[in-house]
Symmetry: C2
Subunit: 258 residues, 2 copies
């Protein structure tokens, strides 16, 4: 028998909730509340595993049952029927994650469901934390996934960001099928930055298998990077101190430190 | 009489803690824990006000007593003496905030104090949430403050990011003394993007006086922007739907929505 989600108030809500990087210490109370309020939680199994200790006896629909677009459609349908649905995304659903797809599908279906996005700690926030203070100045965030974006545009962006001295935050540096893009990026950036420019990588930030590695453009080994890794490359002023990557807050020596 | 912070274990810790955007619903548990564990909390008064309900009877040192660099020095000194110090920053201390200055000053003083950065929900995360899903693709984050950075470099970055079709996230769009930079930015971006490109602004995200406004490159009114505002400008594919700003996840129509 199907659960009847129809309520006195009418329609349900679809909340797009980020788990943050992994540890529950990084899950904001607003996200936790949305999970508590949900009648049903839908998500990719990796992310559901991160929150398994707090979902209690909620009804769960995982990726074993359906793919990304189908998960969104199912979520919209259940909300339409009156359920409070939490659609779970990794990191911040608003940064390269599920929020966009939800709106895209809702628009396509001309859905009237109320959609709530709840921010989260994204990979860029947690990786910056683990590396020290790399994002104190302007940065460009680039995904190396060429599944939905032509490589030519990605390369144009790398070139533009490198030339204008942005700190670079690299999402999706590699996958099983994509293994050359990161080396290509390092090659492009090396035309604009010194060999000593710090390059940091963080794998599985805040999780048990977390790895943090600080290197330089010259010595960075792209082989160590995998799908769970985020890479940050400093600007011309970034430096390493005490195993931390630090980008100064400006280019002029206007503030006295002593 | 001075408090004696010397402990059996030796030295204290300086934690750089972000308040997030303002509402305690966006304060991660790790940050809350650091505040709970602190013997003393140091910060700019605006940020201390946001967390006043959870600091209890802690010793507080606010900006009325000292300026930025002095706050950091005081924090390092107290930690050196054995105190657990929480230095409070707005948003994410790792994004244009206090983490960098702490390391810079610690390096300058050759300090051996243990420094912990704790990530937070930055303005870019909370503003993206309020606008819908603007950051689903590559973005460049640029501060318009030319206090420590030459305007020429800022303009070069705007130009580079606009030409390479990055979504733009604008920090410090304006201050009492800086009023023309945002209009200059809009003028530059307008050379590369259509008039209909969505432009969103969020003021005081998650706070009582929150304001969210969605407009276009053609009609955006920079006069409405103040120091508490973050501005997001879409890429060539971003659009408005249902009062939300949405950037599609890619440029190729590889995913079927229906």
């Amino acid at each position: 028998m199907e659960t009847d989600y129809h309520r006195s108030g009418g329609k349900g809500v679809l909340s797009v909730v980020g788990t943050g990087p992994g540890s529950l210490d990084y899950l904001i109370p607003a996200a936790r509340q949305a999970l508590d309020d949900a009648d049903i939680i839908i998500g990719y199994k990796t992310y559901l595993a991160l929150i398994k200790d707090i979902v209690g006896s909620k009804k769960i629909m995982s990726s074993a049952m359906m793919q990304e677009v189908d998960r969104v459609k199912k979520g919209l349908k259940l909300a339409e029927e009156g359920a409070n649905v939490a659609l779970v995304s990794g990191g911040d659903p608003g940064i390269y994650a599920m929020a966009g797809l939800v709106f895209e599908v809702a628009k396509e279906l001309d859905s009237a469901v109320e959609i709530k996005v709840i921010a989260g700690i994204a990979a860029l926030n947690s990786c910056a934390e683990k590396l020290g203070a790399p994002l104190m100045h302007d940065f460009a965030t680039i995904s190396l996934s060429d599944l939905l974006t032509p490589w030519e545009l990605i390369e144009k962006r790398i070139e533009a960001a490198a030339a204008a001295d942005f700190v670079l935050v690299i999402y999706n540096p590699k996958s099983r099928k994509r293994d050359w893009q990161l080396n290509k990026l390092l090659e492009i950036v090396s035309r604009y930055r010194q060999k000593s420019t710090p390059v940091g990588m963080v794998k599985a930030a805040t999780r048990e298998n977390e790895e943090v590695l600080l290197s330089t453009l010259e010595f960075f080994n792209a082989d160590l990077v995998d799908m769970q890794t985020t890479v940050i490359i400093g600007n011309s002023n970034s430096y390493e101190w005490n195993k931390k990557m630090i980008t100064p807050r400006g280019y002029r020596n206007k503030y006295q430190l002593d």
